[in-house]
Amino acid sequence: MSALLTVEGLGISFGGLKAVDEVGFAVRPGEIVSIIGPNGAGKTTLFNMISGVYLPGRGRVTLNGEDVTGMEPHLLAARGLSRTFQNLQIFQSMTVLENVMAGFHLKERGPVLADLFNLPSSRRRAAEAASGAIELLARVGLDKAAGREAGNLSYGALKRLEIARALALSPRILLLDEPAAGCNAVETEEIDHLIAEVARSGVAILLVEHDMKMVMRISNHVVVLDHGQKIAEGDPAKISRDPAVIAAYLGTEAADAEG
């Protein structure tokens, strides 16, 4: 099957420093590709470029054959790209249900005048979004919290809420930025299953995750970044034996121990 998302020679600099440099890989439908690397390797920056939050300095992003380099996030969303955030980006003062309903924006949006006058068309769109959102909340185990203000939820619950919101777009490719960070073993396993299940339904998944066990368990393909550059790529078994990868990780661990 041909690649859904292709990244070629992607790079960006902040104040002269190359945060990401010449990174390339491809993701096919139903495939789980993980990006790993030490802190500060440029994983989140890479995500931000692919999802249109940052304008890439160099390189190309192709989505389903279309060049989408530097395209605005809302246009990418319309093309089936959805994501979550490492530092949660929850709509804090909205309810849990409303957060996921916001994920249905592309399906539920309509003329603002219809919304102002509460026309039947507007009510119908909202009702459809609501029922879709409830289904998704059930899928991530948050249906009981639907009416609560999102800001009051636990960290692990918020992580799942973000996944539900991202799934509301019915994405063709889903970018997950550390979905299991800060979650306990049980929650991690739940997220683990959820991701595998989503992938089985044909969605391409690009994952940034620090939990190596999880990465090795569910990934089809792993890309390793260090200092903004791709140092290795391959299936999990190959990556875990790669000397450059081991050096990069050991190097940082040694540095951490000293610091």
Partner: protein, 290 residues
């Protein structure tokens, strides 16, 4: 040519005042991320308190010093009573707080010192100095000189003294500054005192030319704010350039286009700058972290 020179003189004079107000904005903004809409009231207080003290028989230089010190004290009080307790509030709330402070100060001044328009004698007489066919008031030289002294003084303060560097460090990164043992509360107090004092000085210097009354602060605050934005918020160099540009622009508009719309020129330029260079002339570009 004398005409152009004339407009240049008046533009630089007014611009120097705007630059001082913009500098006041900048100092407080850097220390606390607050845009202080009461900045113009400090200028008003500088003029009005000098007027009151001078009328009470205090010699003019002493009256001016009293005004500057008193205004600085009011600035500190404002920080302690209104800004510090609201730390971390959203931008809208902070705007309302500082506008509330400005209305409060204006109301208080009106109550204590009346609604009349006041002035006091110029420092070096009223005889205009002729330069190449144009004239300039000696007081204008005081204003321009005052601004120059303040900017040089502050530059030395920020680059050469430990306290000044602490202020700079705080404006760069409050948390890091606290971690290395800088008393950031003191930095804020100092910033308000400095900013209010500078505003008051501007008021003292310019009153013999423009006259003063309890309600001159708002217009000055808006112009000073505009100048700070034009130069790039948070940058002292931007405040200086922004202020001077704004002053020149106003006097050129008044001279060559329409005196009625001289204020409009300022705001048209601000809008254009914001449209095309949202960070101002010298502002830093920030990258959102997600």
């Amino acid at each position: 040519m004398p005409e152009l020179l004339q407009f240049l003189f008046s533009g630089v004079t007014v611009g120097a005042v705007y630059a001082l107000v913009a500098l006041g904005f900048t100092i407080i903004y850097n220390a606390s991320d607050v845009v202080n809409f009461a900045q113009g009231e400090f200028v008003m207080l500088g003029g009005m308190i000098t007027v009151a003290a001078y009328a009470a028989g205090v010699p003019l230089p002493l009256a001016a010093v009293i005004a500057i010190v008193a205004t600085a004290a009011i600035g500190v009080a404002m920080n302690k009573l209104a800004i510090e307790p609201a730390r971390g509030a959203p931008v809208v709330s902070l705007i309302i707080i500082t506008i509330g402070a400005s209305i409060f100060i204006r109301g208080g001044t009106q109550l204590l010192l009346g609604k009349q328009i006041h002035t006091f004698p110029a420092f070096s007489g009223d005889a205009p100095i002729r330069i190449m066919g144009a004239t300039i008031l000696p007081q204008s030289l005081w204003v321009i000189g005052g601004a120059v002294v303040v900017f040089i003084g502050l530059w030395l303060f920020f680059t050469r003294t430990l306290t000044g560097r602490a202020v700079l460090a705080t404006s760069n990164n409050r948390l890091a500054a606290q971690l290395v043992g800088i008393n950031t509360r003191f930095v804020m107090t100092l910033s308000f005192a400095l900013s209010a004092g500078i505003g008051a000085l501007a008021g003292v210097l310019v009153t013999p030319i423009t006259l003063t009354s309890y309600d001159v602060g708002l217009a000055l605050a808006l112009k000073g704010f505009a100048a700070a934005m034009l130069g790039g918020m948070g940058n002292p160099k931007g405040a200086l350039v922004g202020g001077l540009l704004l002053g020149l622009l106003e006097s050129m508009t008044a001279g060559y286009l329409s005196s009625q719309y001289k204020d409009a020129a300022a705001f048209v330029v601000i809008l254009l700058v914001l449209f095309f260079m949202p960070q101002g002339l010298f502002g830093r570009k920030s990258t959102e972290r997600v």
